[in-house]
């Protein structure tokens, strides 16, 4: 009796185990499962359905997280040799370091990616290379504009028409002066989300920032553009024109939703973020106009295929399809994700596109029309080590815990210190 009960128990355990294992192994229903990991708003979900319709043997799974978690997950997966998605988006900030470990990625040229080259703006294609290796296929880019709240501008007695608004700030000094005018009339809201976004935009308007393009030496302390960006941004912070919310954090989302600030520098991909945080109720509140002192590029990503995946060919096919011109066009028309391919941003449908959420702003004209002028900024090998030091310094100014000069000096000192050690 006792014997039989034990046997019965063991049988039951085995059955449960078998069911669990079968359940785990069979989620794809016999199809090949390809996991695509992205961060923020790539707008891929509708495209996945379309791809599965075209390729019934593929099951696409999207994995979306925030910027930091996404890249940290990738790094951890590369370090331990497992756990990475089949297709992983990498933002340009992380590219220099990924190039260092390029053998952890599939060389996409082995599947014929080299033939796709003419599709992209030449600089975008080159960013995705590591020597002869094709590390990633370009997705979007981050042409710069300025987003502003029409309702808050009207309340502060400022013009609301986007051409009139652009005339307020031909230069960053004009922008700062507008901030002061805004503050006099509208004490409830701040003028800009944080010193950090203004700083980053100004830095990204230049061709080189922390490291010299010629020899990768550190020039963060001598490059006049960096100091100017720091002074403009810190000036806004000391005069309390910033809401002091860090981009993409929970307080930042809430601040957008509550209308806590009136302007934000808008790389094209920012529009989707604002829409998401602002919600449907925010339709028509925001508008888009040009940024002081011309264009620039802030960010942009690439799709890579980590070498540890089980289905590199299928993964490559997915990455190729997602970055193909038709899909880039669809992504722009739907989510204002700015294409990095000339054929797409010269497309009349793209150029003529307006966005009802942003008061019917001609986003096609604003972003796509200036795309030919977009140039990448040179990112040094140690860029990711140095960059945060200056952001934190601005945070200290914003918190009121340090003067502008002391914050700057500390940032430079910390940058030099971190470069003393191998990275």
């Amino acid at each position: 009796m006792r014997q039989r009960r034990t046997t019965g128990l063991i049988t039951a355990l085995w059955t449960v185990l078998a069911i669990v294992l079968a359940g785990c192994a069979d989620t794809g229903g016999g199809r090949v499962e390809i996991v695509v990991a992205t961060f923020g708003e790539f707008g891929y979900e509708p495209l996945f359905t379309e791809y599965e319709r075209l390729h019934p043997d593929i099951h696409l799974v999207g994995r979306v997280s925030d910027f930091d978690s996404h890249h940290r997950d990738l790094i951890t997966a590369l370090a331990v040799g497992r756990g990475a998605a089949d297709v992983v988006a990498v933002e340009e900030q992380y590219l220099p370091r990924m190039r260092q470990v390029k053998d952890k990625f599939v060389d996409l040229a082995t599947y014929g990616a080299g033939d796709l080259r003419p599709q992209w703006a030449p600089w975008k294609w080159e960013q995705g290379l590591a020597g002869p290796t094709v590390l990633g296929l370009g997705t979007d880019m981050g042409g710069l504009a300025m987003c502003y709240r029409r309702d808050l501008f009207a309340a502060a007695g400022l013009p609301t028409d986007r051409d009139e608004v652009a005339k307020l700030w031909p230069t960053w000094d004009g922008y700062a002066a507008t901030a002061d005018r805004f503050a006099e009339r509208s004490p409830g809201a701040k003028f800009v989300d944080s010193a950090g976004t203004i700083y980053t935009a100004i830095v990204n308007q230049g061709e080189q920032n922390y490291f010299a393009k010629a020899d990768d030496s550190f020039i963060g302390d001598t490059n006049p553009r960096i100091r100017r960006a720091f002074d403009v941004a810190a000036g806004l912070a000391t005069r309390k024109r910033t809401a002091g919310v860090t981009t993409f954090t929970q307080p930042w989302n809430v601040a957008i939703n509550q209308g806590a600030f009136a302007t934000i520098t808008c790389p094209a991909w920012m529009l989707a973020q604002i829409k998401q945080s602002g919600g449907a109720a925010g339709t028509g509140n925001w508008d888009v106009t040009s940024i002081p002192e011309g264009g620039g590029n802030w960010g942009g990503s690439f799709l890579t295929v980590p070498a540890q995946g089980a289905h590199p060919r299928e993964a490559y096919e997915v990455a190729r399809w997602l970055t193909a011109p038709e899909q880039q066009k669809a992504l722009f028309l739907h989510d204002a994700i700015l294409p990095s391919e000339p054929a797409v941003y010269h497309d009349p449908a793209v150029l003529g596109h307006t966005d009802p959420y942003f008061a019917d702003a001609p986003v096609g004209r604003i972003f796509a029309a200036s795309s030919d002028q977009v140039r990448p900024n040179y990112r040094g090998l140690r860029d990711a080590d140095v960059r945060p030091k200056f952001g934190l310094a601005l945070g200290r100014v914003e918190d009121g815990t340090q003067s502008v000069d002391a914050a700057w000096e500390q940032a430079v000192r910390e940058a030099r210190e971190t470069l003393r050690w191998p990275g």
């Binding site: 930091d68 260092q100 809401a243 307080p251 945060p388 934190l392 815990t401 050690w421």
Partner: protein, 301 residues
Amino acid sequence: MAGVTSRRLNGAVLLVAPFVLVFAVFGVFPLLYTAWMSVRRWHLIDGDHGFVGLANYARLFADPDFYHALGNTVCILVVATAVQMVLSLWLAVLLDRATRGRALWCSVALLPNVVPAVAVALIFAQLFGRDYGVVNWLLKLVGAGPVNWQAHSWSAYLGVAAMVVWRWTGYNALLCLAAMQTVPRELVEAAQLDGASRWRVFRSVTLPLIRPTVSFTLLMSVVGGLQVFTEPQLFDVAGLSGTGGNDRQFQTVVMYLYEQGFGRWDAGYAATVSWSLFLLCAAFGVVNAFVFRRPRSGAGP
């Protein structure tokens, strides 16, 4: 006779074998591997770049950021542990006195400990939010100005310590309660007959008798406090990329380890930080064992 002893020994070995095996795989091996990494230049993704001797340790001992992180860790630990010990003893006394529904109250006391640290940290970070946080809203009700909790060391220590206290007080209270229930009733009653107040009974009878448990609880909360990570990391609005505020004002040692290993990809240096932390924990364990070795002879009145 000898046969029986050796058979008994075999049985004992068999019984402890699973633990020893698990401990070897998840305890000893990582410890030794980390020691090995700490004397090498080790890139997180690229792996081993060769032996560097004690260079990582030399760098660590001269690293002001490490000492700064250590200082933060100790401050948070002292605040959190002190509050925790007092609260959990008090809670244990209350639970000990409860005549009805003790099991229910015990479960309630344990609830905060069951909630994952990440969830606790995310919620507390929102409670302590500068613009829309509940704590600042309450402060405003009593007429105090809003506090930018993350911007200053002292306020951030309080915020992080609050999370730790919230998570561990109930758990520690249960440990103390278990010990209190082993205190012989006769001793307590005898003291009461002698006219001792409740406080006097607690201080002179209960406390000396539960001393080993208090010592253990203290050790665990200090070791846990030295390793505190999730709470302060997520208290930083910048999340995973945060370094404990804009000026490292609440960066703990493990956060610094994380920054070095997963932010700068310097796994060798991170291993060095990790080993130094292990030595600190071990040193505290030894001191603790020494101080609380056994109840002083003639304890009690």
